[in-house]
Amino acid sequence: MAPLASQTVDLREPAGWRRTKNQIMTVLMWGAFVIVLIPLGFVIYTVIEKGAKAISWQFLTNGTVPPNVMPLGFGGMGAAVIGTLEITGFAALIAIPLGVLGAVYISEYGGRNWLAKLIAFMADVMTGVPSIVMGLFIYTLWVLHFGYSGMAGSFALACLMLPVVIRSSYEMLRLVPNTLREGSYALGATKARVTVTVVLPAALGGIVSGALLAVARAAGETAPLLFCILTVESTNTNLFSGPNTALSTQIFANAQSPYVGAQARAWGAALTLIAITFILMIVARIVTARFTRYAR
């Protein structure tokens, strides 16, 4: 099929079906992104618009949640804010160290043995366990014997966070080059020392950012708390006894109420919750950008 050199060759875009199909497909792919932008934009816009109306210093700090029928201006969500911060904070305190240790086991001690592979596999499976099941679990294990408390909620959230922290920490530990470990071993350090003084610091940025994202996800969880804290109307700073409340459960309760006041408070709580989550996410990004030495 070699044309004679005298024939001028036409190298322009071949018109027709192939090019059109390619363009249609590209448009569709962009369309998929736009489809996702619409609800996201809509939600964020609505939350900001309606939530801003409810937010005030009183709203954020007043420790008494008013009955649903009361309009805006009475009481506030302070109890829920404190609840969310306490419960999520305690959950992070439990889950992050345990998660990092678990990841250390798989990455540094497990090697190729079957137990490490099983744990890693099951951690992945555990990330798919519905949050409501975790709530029921802590209910049957703890609440039935020791009653509702913020701590029970923390346990449930910690169970949700654990596999996520394990997985993300493991990914970070894996990225630390072996030469770093070998250099430390060559100086006579034991495995524990190598891990704590060399490997973990090297992976720290990534581990912290992964943990922050897990905390952000936990702060927004509702279902497990429903069974563990028994949403109440006043602040309970004692995490270890007595029912408690949180922003997520308050939003859930208020969303089902027909009263305008309750719904307005729900929007305010939603805006507060999104703000907290958002701040955590941004801090996680900053940590990734500035402090992560070994990125993928």
Binding site: M1, P3, L4, A5, T8, V9, R12, E13
Partner: protein, 287 residues
């Protein structure tokens, strides 16, 4: 940094490459490259290459690592477009038409100028579907015609007898040499004008290599072939013309770039090279 780089490179005096270019008696120039320089971002990988490639010949590009021979090869079918930041200065004409003019469609170019890669890359599909891929995307739907094309291409690639009874099996189940011949068959299935080969035998054993070299001689009468090779014996075995590339290094700034040193009939390059660098390379003293 970019500015500084440009200035220094401009000071590099690129010695005239000895391009001995007598058009063979009945052939035409398929490619006509003039003053081609290729940049990756601000790094000039290849400087000022000019040569003609002739129809129905096998032209070999040889030279040490990093001399830009693969870069020049990929410029001939616009494959460098796939690398972000790649840019071509100068003119490349294919049968009189400029390849880098605006309005030129890379897909149209690549349909006419095919490429076989260093590592065989069959699709994870059946042998039949691999060869039929090209014709299918060009609109061929008739099963009978596709069967014909597949058989003809596999015959040209000297693979038909080995696979004719298992066309439906996965291409990944074949040996490396067979996979590479499949890739050649796949390229021939779209009936290109030119076949570019980027070190096609470097991942293969000597027997598979021999089969592919025989194949090249067989199809030469219908196609124009340009082959990049690290193996000088291979260049002497298969090619009619050889282009020797090398790395030019500026003493002061340590800026390196690839240049075309000498281009001539293969016999001359290896038996009677004009440039000392060519001589050093082909006698094994360098590279």
């Amino acid at each position: 940094m970019e500015q500084q780089d440009q200035k220094i490179v401009a000071k590099l005096t690129v010695p005239e490459s000895s391009v001995r270019d007598e058009a063979p008696r009945s052939g035409n120039a398929v490619f006509d490259a003039k003053n081609v320089s290729i940049y990756y971002g601000s790094f000039r990988a290849v400087t000022d290459v000019s040569l003609n490639i002739y129809e129905n010949e096998i032209t070999a590009f040889i030279g040490p690592s990093g001399c830009g021979k693969t870069t020049v090869l990929r410029t001939l079918n616009r494959m460098n477009d796939l690398i972000p930041g790649a840019r071509v200065d100068g003119a490349v004409h294919y049968r009189g038409a400029s390849l880098y003019e605006s309005g030129v469609s890379p897909t149209a170019v690549r349909r006419r100028i095919g490429m076989v890669f260093q590592k065989p890359n069959p699709f994870p599909k059946s042998i039949y579907d691999n060869v039929a891929y090209g014709p299918r995307i060009n609109g061929e739907r008739s099963k009978r015609k596709l069967d014909d094309i597949v058989e003809r291409s596999l015959r040209q690639a000297a693979l038909w007898d080995e696979v004719k009874n298992r066309l439906g099996k996965s291409a990944l189940g074949m040996s490396g040499g067979q996979q590479q011949r499949l890739c050649i068959a796949r390229t021939l299935a779209v009936e290109p004008d030119v076949v570019l080969m980027d070190e096609p035998c470097s991942a293969l054993d000597p027997i598979a290599t021999g089969k592919i070299e025989d194949l090249m001689h067989e199809i030469k009468s219908r196609y124009t072939i340009v082959i990049v090779t690290h193996n000088m014996q291979q260049a002497t075995r298969v090619s009619d013309r050889t282009a020797f590339y090398s790395v030019l290094r500026d003493e002061k700034s340590d800026v390196r770039t690839g240049v075309l040193v000498e281009y001539d009939k293969t016999a001359n390059i290896f038996e009677n090279p004009q440039d000392s660098r060519t001589q050093a390379y082909v006698t094994g003293r360098m590279g």
